[in-house]
Symmetry: C2
Subunit: 111 residues, 2 copies
DNA sequence: CATTTATATATTAATATTCGGATATCTACA
DNA sequence: TGTAGATATCCGAATATTAATATATAAATG
């Protein structure tokens, strides 16, 4: 089970914070979508997602070529509350990332 | 104004997390009370409190020999929500710290 | 004043984190 | 097979964080 300080540490880096919150809002995203939305390199995104998975915050599921990340279903209530509060706090940045997502060509889920 | 990732970084260390939440619950605590409650050294407690103050999470007020720390009044709503969720998550540890506090002899506020 | 108590800060050494670039793995499909 | 696309991991360098120890400041007290 995840400890409070561990969750906070995971969310203390902008790449991890924004990836987590965007996935929280969108339900499920793959690495290439996050690269596009956050405008970051593949190894950087992948490395941070691995950390979030290892801490039990995100779950991954491979479907074909893609690996989709979603928020771990069994997250404790307090952790979900923190994601909700964080989403409110990062509203503006998240809106930009969602705009980037919508502008993305050839998104995997469309196919 | 404090940024989400910055708040999370402040709360990602157990000393800072526990000090912040205990102050959040108790209203106001001085360094020597936190030393007793968290069972940590004076320089360690003081250094972490300074960091929390610099980030705008805590406010300090000297009264006589003692410096009392409290949660910054103008904290945004999302930040207060995170403290509330964190308190729930750390309920057990906080109960222990409160027990330590009650057992402390010569607490400054009593005088 | 001199001393004591409370708190803050500086220094140093150990450890941790982060990123970029290179490379490896895995899947789909010709 | 073999090639391409998507993702993961490894490595080294730069930077940041942390704790412990020592020292400094500030207020109370005799």
């Amino acid at each position: 089970m995840i400890e409070p300080a561990q969750l906070f540490k995971c969310l203390s880096d902008d790449t991890r914070l924004h990836a987590t919150l965007l996935i929280y809002l969108e339900g499920e995203l793959c690495v290439c979508e996050l690269m596009e939305a956050l405008n970051d390199s593949q190894p950087k995104i992948s490395r941070h997602l691995a950390q979030l998975r290892q801490c039990g915050i995100l779950a991954d599921a491979r479907r074909g070529q893609w690996v989709f990340y979603s928020v771990e279903k069994n997250l404790p209530a307090w952790a979900s509350e923190i994601l909700a509060s964080g989403s409110k706090a990062s509203e503006k940045a998240l809106a930009t990332f969602q705009t980037n997502l919508k502008a993305m060509k050839n998104r995997p889920q469309c196919c």
